[in-house]
């Protein structure tokens, strides 16, 4: 083997190594950027799990206050607690998902359908849905109208 071809071989090898090093560096940079972003997201939404669990209590309070027995000073006190809890959660970024109008699979979860004059309207809300900041943390569980069912064409 002459010097020329040896040199060529070494150059090719060097180029290959440099290419690999660049790839690994890029890979690492991406990884670092993503972990940093994930860390920020984590910090931002660390409360998400807790808020999600507290929503169950918020639901319970709402249901309790909707009963016929929810009258008098004691009920007013509980109403106050409900308002306080809701305000606190709203301060953390909680926002109710609107359920008046058209069914949207991005924020609503359809549990069942019923007869209706038109398709895809929300007929009943079983469980309220909420956003925490820009994210949906719980979908609203709803019943959706179906016009075909009424006309007897379905099934």
């Amino acid at each position: 083997m002459d010097m020329e071809s040896l040199l060529q071989e070494a150059e090719a090898k060097a180029f290959e190594n440099l290419d690999m090093a660049k790839r690994i560096q890029a890979d690492y940079d991406n990884y670092r950027k993503r972990s940093q972003k994930e860390m920020e997201e984590f910090r931002k939404f660390a409360t998400e799990g807790l808020v999600l669990e507290l929503l169950v209590i918020l639901d319970d309070l709402e249901r309790a206050l909707q009963t016929e027995d929810a009258v008098g000073p004691f009920a007013d006190g509980v109403r106050g607690i409900h308002i306080n809890l809701k305000k606190l959660l709203e301060f953390k970024g909680l926002k109710e998902i609107a359920t008046d109008g058209v069914f949207d699979p991005r924020v609503h979860d359809c549990l069942m359908t019923c007869e209706g004059d038109e398709d895809g309207r929300i007929a009943e809300v079983y469980q309220k849905g909420y956003y925490l900041g820009p994210r949906v943390i719980r979908c609203a569980k709803v019943k959706v109208t179906n016009a075909t069912k009424k006309n007897g064409e379905g099934e």
């Binding site: 890029a26 398709d119 895809g120 979908c139 959706v144």
Partner: protein, 89 residues
């Protein structure tokens, strides 16, 4: 730069991952982590107004749009089964 993506196409749920820094890392779906972690339901739906939905949103509307929703399709893979939705195969 080319990368390898690994896809677990499951009957009920699917997931995807890439190799990063020598370790596999799962790609979360746009809806973020849900009940199934970073995986998402194996659903595809075509809505009446022509939208194409996949994953979690597709699962949520499955009850109102059973004829336009495809699920458990892995079971039919490898057979000559064809899905017909809104006149298209």
């Amino acid at each position: 730069m080319s990368r390898v993506i690994g896809i677990d196409l499951g009957t009920s749920n699917s997931a995807a991952a890439i190799m990063e820094g020598g370790r596999p890392s799962m790609i979360p779906s746009a809806e973020g982590t849900s009940v199934g972690g970073k995986a998402f339901p194996s659903y595809v739906a075509f809505t009446e107004d022509g939208q194409l939905l996949v994953g979690e949103p597709a699962r949520r509307q499955a009850v109102t749009n059973p004829d336009g929703t495809i699920k458990n399709i892995k079971r039919k893979m490898g057979t000559d089964h064809k899905v017909k939705i809104r006149g298209k195969e």
